[in-house]
Amino acid sequence: MTRSALVRFAFRTTIPVLLGYSTIGLAYGLLLATSGLPWWLAPLSSLVVYAGAAQFMAIPLLAGGAGIVEVAVLTFLVNARHLVYGLSLIKPFGEVRKARPYLIYALTDETYGLLTTVNPPEGASKARFFTLVSAFDQSYWVIGSLVGALAGSLVPASWTTGLDFALTALFIVLLVEQIRSVRRPAPYLVAIGASLVALLLAGPDRLLVVAIVLAMAGMLALKPLLRKATGGGSDAQAGGGSE
């Protein structure tokens, strides 16, 4: 596969993220610029932090003059789920040398979803594919927040109402693809249960972190049971860490 063909393939892979990131990045830039903060903090934050939920959360904190410790602790709570994302990418990233630090820094929810779900074409460099996908995704976010911050309130908000649903649709599509490749019901059922418990106990704002931690604890607790139930067969492959 030629280099430009791989660039096209990587770009096509990231189009759903383009729709989501450019619009949500735009909303982020708009919100930041209209909250009394200088517009250039939006693209700067998208470069330095590059974590959507944390950046949105930080706007009122920065505008309200919150302390650096408060911002750091809240960022940790919002982003703690990233502590586990890397676990599924240690093996795939093992073949990557130079770009590894960048890939780790740029590992957002959506990029994680693409890198763990989409395989590069036959014969293509995995490192180059990963880097292209990560860089395309980040460029949408940075450019989106830059344009949003500059545009201020020039574009009527009614035009873009609902466009952010593209991210929900992306998560659904990635879930369908996961169901196709990981054909064990346990992780999905455990995750739904954990989400419900997290929503009821921790509330909607901390749902992501708490649900993922609970689901992992649930999978650990169920481990002996699942071993017995699945035994051999097709699940031995999925459980053997071949993904």
Partner: protein, 116 residues
């Protein structure tokens, strides 16, 4: 109200370092091939778990919560979330074209959001 720009810059830098630390931790702790079996077992289930939780998170507004236990989302808004979501899942299972699934579902959602 004036915003202390240097405090904002320091906070953004701190948020960036915290985020990077979260993302880099598993790579720093476990070199390739030296992942403990228990974590190896977990990481195989992580993508399904994370995707399920992310989808759930997108729909959490539909679930009634304490203290009132009533539905806070208007029926038309709820439909505008659920129906396009089902469309995305059906299109993806049927055609397997991510762009088609996402564009179709998003357009339907935008149309329904304007009707409501």
């Amino acid at each position: 109200m004036t915003v202390d720009i240097w405090a904002s810059l320091a906070s953004i830098l701190a948020a960036g370092l915290v985020t990077l630390a979260c993302r880099a931790t598993p790579f720093l702790l476990f070199r390739q091939g030296k992942i403990p079996p228990l974590l190896d077992y977990l990481q195989g289930s992580l993508p399904p778990i994370v995707m399920t939780v992310l989808v759930f998170n997108s729909y959490k507004a539909l679930i009634p919560l304490a203290p009132t236990w009533t539905f806070t989302t208007a029926p038309i808004e709820a439909l505008a979330l659920v129906v396009p979501g089902i469309l995305a899942a059906v299109l993806q299972s049927w055609k397997g074209n991510a762009l088609l699934s996402i564009a179709g579902a998003t357009l339907l959602h935008m149309a329904m959001a304007r009707l409501g």
